[in-house]
């Protein structure tokens, strides 16, 4: 015998625990027979009636789930928010971190061309792995109904209302990018300046001996400057301590530069030797004076602007 009812019962009972299977089967079979009989009694063709009854009972899996109290969702309301918050937190920084690390390692170990691709691919793979395993753990928790003894929510956990910002993110990004580019220039000019000597050898613009003294300091100050921009953005507006920090950073950069320019130690002596114009009488000193004035002007302009903004913001 392989009627629709038999097939329906087999399909339903497959996922019902064995010790209850027979009893449920007998009851369901009788119930289906009753319903079919009822419809046939009202003049319906028995085959059609059977089909209709089974359609009404619905998918066997769903009926079986009702018998066994099996959940029909992956992650229910008990765990959903915990799962979502955790996943969001993990995905905000881990894939990006992995991507950067892989990219840097790839670039450092000799294939800079593939570094970006390798980083992106590692980031995507990490995202997929984190999402899959986190979800799997919570799906298992849902099915075992394991209690998570998490601390209850309290109003203290409410996040603060975001600070109203005078500072725009784009400005901060632009400032940081400028600092990074400038720092990058200091490094790159050592390896490939626009100036090559007669023998195709690269002649750095800045005195290479400065790498053992002032250049690392200047780079560190630039890095601190980038950090300062981020902190300033987080604070949301200019304050006097921020202005003080800006002043200190500007002086930390400008004073060594001015001093190096003044003592004519900034430019590479080899460059000075090779460029005729620099060797001519007084030109190097003039250039130094102009550069000093320019540096002082830029710094002063920035400080005045920062001072005005600070006064306006703290009034």
């Amino acid at each position: 015998m392989n009627t629709l009812t038999d097939r329906y019962l087999t399909a339903t009972l497959r996922s019902v625990p064995a010790q209850r299977r027979e009893e449920i089967a007998t009851e369901l079979r009788a119930a289906i027979a009753d319903m079919v009989e009822d419809r046939a009694g009202a003049g319906q063709d028995p085959a059609t009636a059977e089909r209709e009854v089974l359609t009404e009972l619905g998918p066997p899996d769903r009926l079986a789930a009702r018998y066994t109290d099996r959940v029909l969702h992956l992650i229910g309301p008990t765990y959903y928010l915990i799962w979502w918050n955790l996943l969001r937190r993990l995905l905000t920084y881990i894939p990006a971190l992995v991507a950067v690390v892989v990219g840097v390692v790839e670039a450092a170990t000799g294939s800079p061309a593939g570094a970006i691709g390798a980083g992106i691919s590692a980031g995507i793979q990490t995202t997929a792995q984190i999402a899959f395993w986190t979800t799997l753990v919570f799906a298992v928790l849902e099915r075992t109904r394991a209690p998570l003894d998490l601390p209850a929510w309290t109003p203290d956990q409410l996040p603060a209302v975001p600070v109203e910002r005078d500072l725009r993110l784009t400005d901060t990004c632009a400032s940081v990018a400028m600092l990074v580019l400038f720092g990058g220039f200091l490094v790159v000019q050592h390896f490939s300046s626009w100036f090559t000597g007669g023998d195709d050898r690269n002649v750095p613009l800045l005195d290479p001996t400065l790498w053992r003294s002032w250049l690392p300091v200047l780079l560190a100050v630039l890095l601190l400057g980038a950090a300062f921009e981020v902190v300033k953005y987080r604070v949301g507006r200019w304050t006097w301590p921020l202005f003080g920090a800006r002043l200190a950073l500007d002086l930390a950069f400008a004073l060594p530069v001015v001093w190096l320019l003044h003592t004519e130690r900034l430019l590479n002596p080899e460059l000075v030797r090779r460029v005729d114009w620099l060797g001519e009488d007084g030109n190097l000193t003039t250039l130094g004076t102009v550069a000093i004035a320019g540096t002082a002007g830029i710094i002063l302009w920035g400080l005045v602007e920062a001072g005005i903004k600070t006064r306006r913001a703290t009034r």
Binding site: T26, L28, E56, Y67
Partner: protein, 121 residues
């Protein structure tokens, strides 16, 4: 229809969900009352429907099983008829629970009546 007039008939889907919410749990109540007189699944289904408690078969059978597991119903197989049938009956525990449920239903009704009166005053 002129603009801005609220339709008199509530959207069918909304009505259905709210009625479903309101009716949730009444199947247990109705079954416990009806099974003071022992009966098998399909006969119970028909009796409930006749008294204004339409319950789907795929809901009722698993529900009867769960109530039996909770000790609120007892069951007995009747093999005297043409096909074996499982007869359920409300147990003593089921009767106690039913009493509490009925009290609560009455309390809800009293509260609703009180609220309606309070609003009308």
């Amino acid at each position: 229809m002129p603009h801005g007039i609220v339709p008199l008939v509530v959207n069918d889907d909304i009505l259905r969900t709210h009625l479903q919410e309101l009716r949730r749990g009444t199947a247990v109540l109705a079954s416990l009352i009806a099974l003071r007189r022992p009966d098998y699944g399909y006969a119970l289904l028909q009796r409930l429907a006749a008294h204004g408690f339409p319950v789907d078969a795929n809901t009722l059978y698993p529900l009867l099983r769960r109530l039996e597991e909770q000790g609120l119903l007892t069951s007995e197989w009747n093999t005297a008829e043409s096909r074996p049938r499982k007869f359920y009956r409300t147990s003593a525990d089921g009767e106690t629970l039913l009493g509490r449920l009925l009290d609560d239903l009455a309390a809800v009704q009293t509260s609703v009546a009180g609220l309606i009166e309070g609003v009308a005053e």
